[in-house]
Symmetry: C2
Subunit: 283 residues, 2 copies
Amino acid sequence: MTPALAEWFGAARARIDMALGDVFTQSWPQPFLGALNYPLTTGGKRIRPAISMAAWQAVTGGPIGDAPTAPGVAVELIHTYSLVHDDLPAMDDDAERRGRPTVHVQYDEATAILVGDALLTEAFTVLARSGHSPETIVSLVAGLAAAAGHRGMVGGQMGDILLGASVDTVQGLQDVHRRKTGALIRWSSVSGGQVAGAERAQLQALDVYGSAVGLAFQLADDVLDADEAEDPNGPPSYVRLMGIEETQRQAAALADKAIEAAQTLPHPEMLVALAQFTVQRDV
Amino acid sequence: MTPALAEWFGAARARIDMALGDVFTQSWPQPFLGALNYPLTTGGKRIRPAISMAAWQAVTGGPIGDAPTAPGVAVELIHTYSLVHDDLPAMDDDAERRGRPTVHVQYDEATAILVGDALLTEAFTVLARSGHSPETIVSLVAGLAAAAGHRGMVGGQMGDILLGASVDTVQGLQDVHRRKTGALIRWSSVSGGQVAGAERAQLQALDVYGSAVGLAFQLADDVLDADEAEDPNGPPSYVRLMGIEETQRQAAALADKAIEAAQTLPHPEMLVALAQFTVQRDV
């Protein structure tokens, strides 16, 4: 990460973490409050909110301190609920996430199911009460629900379970990833343009950017986990299907495609830096 | 149920069942489609959509065939997802609902978790794409998310788990029910007014109506299940705390309160009939 991106990312994260801390400040019954906030305070990278805020900056040129946080908070609530439900014993059965017990281990399964449901629901409260124009809010709600729902993230999770081990083509793997992880990243990019009042061509550029970065992110993940991804008995991966060099090449090509789309916008600096980081990161 | 109400209810149900059948018409991966529709076709009473459509009629006087279905479909999606998650082994662990295997029995737990998540998310797609004015949609989204979320239904479910067995006052029981079941019924009533373009005083009357009917519904449930509700080792119930006669008396008083509020609206007939049915039903 370049020093300029690191400084910007620190400011973006601080802004989102503060906004996330304001989502659940009271609850009934009172002990529920701790469980609601627990998965939101695990030190996530906040990459989706960062993309949303960078997209707003790319259109407006405004400072990060003025970037609207509602889309970023909403997408992070959706991303976080999906992790809480994914970690459940009936799903991936993970006991730890980022070095801490998962919600169902720290509390119990029923609490984890309800925390996930509450986070998912609250994403739409955050959008509805964001203060943007009613037209913008309706676009945000429609877009986030589509990205998160049965034709987006949840469909991708179901596809991963139903098809997962049997996927044996790059296209098949992309069909899963475009939904499971790609849809939310794509929406993050477009949402930043929507709250910036972007024109149609700008929204299309942000759509191309988000789609390309979302897929590049997944390819880069496989390269980072190459040991695991090369395992012939492991789950399907780009590295196993194409080899590590071709995976790296395609990730770089997707980042270039994203950067090209970003450069049609007036202030693309941070979108460009984020796209480069996506394929060059070592975490 | 009076013949007039039965006829009206049949028309309302047919309308909602058709609209619910249009929610999930394709999915990815394709086998997910059956699981998404499975819990929506169990022959539910559709009481919440019926209240929403009756509220629209109370304000507009329009025929049931013209009543907007989006709020009713959205609230039924939320209600249905909550049943799917409630039935999970970690929650109530129910193997049957309305004579059919529950979703996690028919499919598996992971599918049931994801089906619930998809239904919840889709409720907001339905509202966002309803074609109502952006201002109305924003009110609907904000209201439904509040009613369904951590300060509404999900909070009530958590309260039921955390406090459930220890609740020993009528007030404490109402605190749970107002959220767990009351909030969605209340929203159903108000939402019908919102899509009717109701004035503030009319929305307030629908709020009073929905709150009273929601609580009356719960009291009447306890009277219907009086054998179980009187069990000194069973969960807390109004019948156990107040006796069956006082529970009946309070349910009737709440229905009267609801009817009084409805009668301030131009065309209250079906709201009145639904309130009477709530406390006189035998199912």
